[in-house]
Symmetry: D2
Subunit: 416 residues, 4 copies
């Protein structure tokens, strides 16, 4: 017997991790502590100061593969897939708890084959891929053998309105011919990146929601050009990068179309719900890191005869950070629960609430942590500047704040 | 077998109303709709423009008693008492859901014998009162026959630091002799107010936490003087008022001491946890009223050719209000759940989080609702100005924001 | 030789009071200290607790007339009139300095015949009044014998868009017949209020900017009904009030039209520039009062062993208030100077900058002063709650914040 | 005859550029437009992608020297020096106007020999240098032949409290022996940097304000080690850099001491007033760049059928930016004027007001410009990310915000 509306609403407030997920959650934390934290510093040190910035340094991938193999051996692999017969099926709610842990360190997600944008790409392939597409791309992705990128944003239009996307795909015989310019293609610099899922306009004459499609483009297709990295606050994030790309008469087989021509927005809806929640929950983890650093610095440095934490507004800043982290955590958990109970479509207002609230406020928390560190806070001696750049970036990615406020505002206006 | 710490933490996120409370919740909503809403406008109209402002107008109490009797008949009575053998025992979590409904209209709480400060006073009497004290004061309070006041704040010291309280009680023979000045004694103007619970300093030489006591003072004791009402933004709230009082050699029997000399702070701790959560949850209800009015006005008024809701930042203001209301609701529910699971003492940081977060942000939401109404918003044509004054007041009552930030901040600093 | 554009822009930054105005400025300060401050408390005490709230108490007007007569005798009279042959002509810049002093106490403005809305009404009459209109209404206003009101805002439309105004005036023979409803008519409750300047719609078919007119309506005209006071945060401001009025077939002679039919907006432009600056500069004075009280309280009250001013964020709150007061002062002075040098029309963006910036920020400063006072801050024991209500009201009056941001924003967009 | 206090206060509001400075101001703008803007893009392009990051690329310095020579030839050289017989003496007020122009592009300051930290270092040398010191270091600095750095901040203490500085200088015979660690030494990576002014602790036993000294250290002294660059949001700012340095038994002649042992804070006071104002005024220029970009992007990009500038809160964001830029400009001008009229010491509260207000608010304006650009805003395709990093850095440099609020707050508390 299905739940009544009242029962559903009540159930939405059960934000507990399931008992079944607890062992996995514990195992993930243990894995991070035992297999990831110990290699993180060395991994990044190996990559520093290289002439050939767009490859991995000798030893880097070996370290990472070591952690991946341990995760695979422990069964901590691909569990992000909510419907997966290929992974451990987890509810969005349970995954949200885990994602908060993953957000605390930069290598954790990949060590578990759970890093963006591969997770979203794998989800899409699993849901809408043909057997051939799954065999060729999903399988090596699930094995962690290759990586992928999601090719959406364009430099020449306001991509916040996805209807503006103008990279074109035109059918010529048995091939789609793709032309256009994209940027901020995260991960496309990685030598391991072999496949792109690309949003293209297939029919400018169609109804607004049916003009666009998503299509698979192997990285090595002629005409796929990586023009260079986009720097984010001066950092090129080599060798993975957020790449600027051009597609110049790129030809792919007709069968590379996902789900069907004109169904690009439909696929976007599929991927965005969970993806946004994963992002937001990882961001809660980042906020925890920032608050932890803020407190430690506040307790350990002294000025004018007192620990910084006792000076001026600092204690209130710390308290507000804690309060808002807890509030954001609950909102993200509720959005995850809403996806589990109501489906992505019905949950979309909850998802937009989380996406609008979290990155903006966490940017502030990181910024306050920076301030209490003095100039050290913007340097490479703490992870704060990187965290800031990441989370600042998130205020555009998957829809800018403004679009999510619009979703929530329209729903509110409509309910009265 | 008691829960492990991990199980406890997990359980704290089960924020569902209990299935047992749902019928009560429904009955309360029905009672408000059927018995309270229909009399509210008349109740206040009767009270307007009176020469004798400090009495109830003919007919007012009759209306209210009618609603109270219906509630009593329906068993909707005294359910706030968490440990009560005299009422329906409700968890703090369940009560929080109900309180959000009570906050939406000014007479609901009293119609169910659930209004401040009587609820807190009844709780204290039930927990620490002697059989005589219970017979004489708790019984008529539980019956809704009399009302009470809580006498804490003093005009001459910063009462945010309760250790500053200087109204004195000195034992002379079998009597305590009380001298001092208090203000903002809510409800002490009501002719039905018969008993005061008063915070006094009994021993300035004792350890800091043992200097104060709480004592029962019947309203008609010689020397109890009501000097006049404190106006709040110009409104004297007659006939209940927030009164300015003097205690001039007020003598009460030794037995009027509650719990024991020097145990005043202990009693404060008892009353404050639930009281703060009730306040906060009622405040969520007030925020809902404000948002509802904001949306209705935004949709119905037109300027420059568009509904106000479509102009400038208004839709974002509305969206942010919705997001923050949901975030605050979850934080308050979590604080209530923490009291249920951990006890008031362990839950105190959660309670301070809610108390610091909610009144400040709800003031802003009400203020934004005011702005969208134009001058009507600050007038008596909407409830917004009253709501604002109420919630603004709450930023001092039960500890000012600053004290709650201190509680949260110290806890955070201590955990690292 | 007129200044070049560059010279003009340079000159706009000479924000000094003129040497000629300094003696007047000093005399005004002396007058307030000697003649107004000493009577203020008694004036308001006489008005308290009256049964007949809508008249002046015996003795009140005598006190005020005493101060007025002293001002008149000292030549401190009507100096607000910028073009006046009837007063001391002052630049807007010089007047702005004086207005900041007037804002610090509630009776100062009227004691010098410089209170709103009479100042604006007198300006309009002087600029556009016929000799008859001047004789009948301007003369007694300039003498301080009668008072006036400005009748603009309507309850049934969003008056922020003045084009919405729908109170109608229709010509029947030699008379205008006026019908409609207005509210927040400040001062219309005062028994001395004898004349209204009323914004009416005279031709709904005309071009948008030519549909409205301003017309003189003597208070005692049949059909002029005062329905009652609008309360502001619960306070009715008797006996002056912000009145709710109805005009029911009110007939006035054709000659009562100001300037000409359809020229209502033109008159609005005349009055609003200076009026807004006067308001803003008085508001700076109010912010000074609030900051002064905040500092005094912060220095004199102690909690947790320290003066409040040394606790938490309080010193930063105080510093930010000082910084923002100085910034606002300079912006207001610059807007006044722009009116002097460029004329009201060219200066309108500067005026909107001041009007958008000042009331919102000063509300916050007053609110912070309230917070440091605890509950005393919202009571009648300090002027803070009244100041807050006043300045909050100003965020709608003379155009809500939103309209002024629109003016500034459009100008900025247009300049690129 | 000196001005009276009242005349002084009045005079402080004359914020006009002097007539004498206008031609210089015009010449500087012309120089930037004709000699600097045309070389800027090429200058930075030459520096990109170099293996040897810590040298200038062939051609870079030639471009810059070309612009410098043109400036020198036009007499636009060293005019920052307020007391200079070596330059064009300018008031702080006049210089503030020019600095706002310099802030708009990254090469302007150096092209005029007016870039930090050389300006401060030259000022100090001119004021307190011995003839020998001037000959050896000031002369080539004034000629633009060498560059210099200011060595203050330390990684191991909270340098916001300058009393914490612990790099030591101990006298051994005729030499000072210096040991310690410093970081964020701006410009010390530049091959042209030849001289350091270094804050050292010379006597930990002295009175708190007499423990520190400032001393000249030639860059090529044995023991001066550049450990590497501090990255700012990931950018190392090669080849100038913000360097991490160690001083390991660095020996300099006794005569290298500036002004005298124990007078380090005295020198700090000299340099900080003007330096802070120059920084703040350049920051106003940066805010203008950001607002300009925000408006252009808002007008040129379209989403949901409208230019971005017409969507949601964007127009209000733009209006608030304009208002606050004008307010900040006036505050900075007033602080500069206060230094001119009252001297650096008396003006210090005004300087702290500007320093506390400007960088924080300009960071927000740049951030809002970033948001309206989408991901382009954080990339290297606009100057916004660099501007943000620069201005964010400024919230620590020359005293963090918190210290300046303390200066203003204490002054305010002291005046009551």
């Amino acid at each position: 017997m299905p739940m009544t509306e009242i029962e559903l609403q009540a159930e939405l407030n059960d934000l507990r991790m399931s008992k079944e997920a607890q062992p996995l959650f514990d195992a993930v934390k243990r894995h991070i502590a035992e297999n990831v934290d110990p290699i993180t510093e060395e991994f990044f040190r190996l990559g520093e100061g290289r002439a050939d910035r767009w490859s991995w340094a000798p030893g880097q991938l070996e370290l990472l593969e070591g952690a991946k193999n341990k995760a695979k051996a422990a069964g901590l692999w691909n569990f992000f897939l909510p419907h997966g017969d290929t992974g451990t099926p987890l509810s969005n709610l349970d995954y949200a708890y885990i994602a908060a842990e993953l957000g605390k360190s930069p290598l954790s997600s990949e060590s578990l084959n759970c890093s963006a944008p591969d997770t979203g790409n794998m989800e899409v392939l699993e849901m809408v891929g043909t057997p051939d597409q799954k065999e060729r791309w999903l399988k090596p992705l699930l094995n962690g053998e290759i990586r992928s990128a999601y090719v959406m944003t364009e430099p020449n239009v306001a991509s916040s309105d996805a209807g503006n996307i103008e990279t074109s795909a035109r059918l010529e015989g048995d091939e789609w011919v793709i032309n256009g310019e994209k940027y901020f293609i995260s991960g496309a610099g990685d030598p391991r990146c072999k496949i792109l899922i690309c949003m293209v306009q297939t029919n400018p004459e169609a109804a607004r929601k049916a003009q666009h499609s998503q299509i698979l483009i192997p990285m090595d297709t002629p005409g796929v050009q990586v023009l260079g990295p986009m720097r984010v606050f001066g950092d090129d994030h080599a060798p993975q990068g957020h790449m600027h790309m051009r597609f110049d008469n790129v030809r792919v087989p007709k069968d590379n179309m996902l789900l069907g021509e004109g169904r690009g927005f439909e696929i976007s809806q599929m991927r965005l719900g969970p993806g946004r929640i994963h992002h937001c929950m990882r961001t809660i983890g980042k906020a925890e890191v920032a608050l932890d650093l803020m407190v430690k610095r506040g307790n350990s440095r002294t000025a004018f005869g007192k620990p910084l934490s006792q000076l001026g507004k600092n204690m209130e800043v710390i308290a507000r950070a804690r309060i808002d982290i807890e509030a954001m955590r609950l909102i993200v958990l509720k959005a995850a629960k809403a996806m589990d109970l109501l489906g992505n479509r019905e949950a979309r207002v909850w998802v937009s609430m989380a996406k609008a609230m979290v990155p903006e406020r966490v940017c502030q928390i990181i910024d306050q942590a920076i301030q209490i560190h003095g100039a050290t806070g913007i340097s490479h001696w703490t992870p704060l500047a990187d965290l800031y750049a990441d989370v600042r970036h998130l205020r555009f990615a998957d829809g800018p704040d403004e679009v999510h406020y619009m979703v929530v505002g329209r729903d509110e206006l409509g309910r009265h």
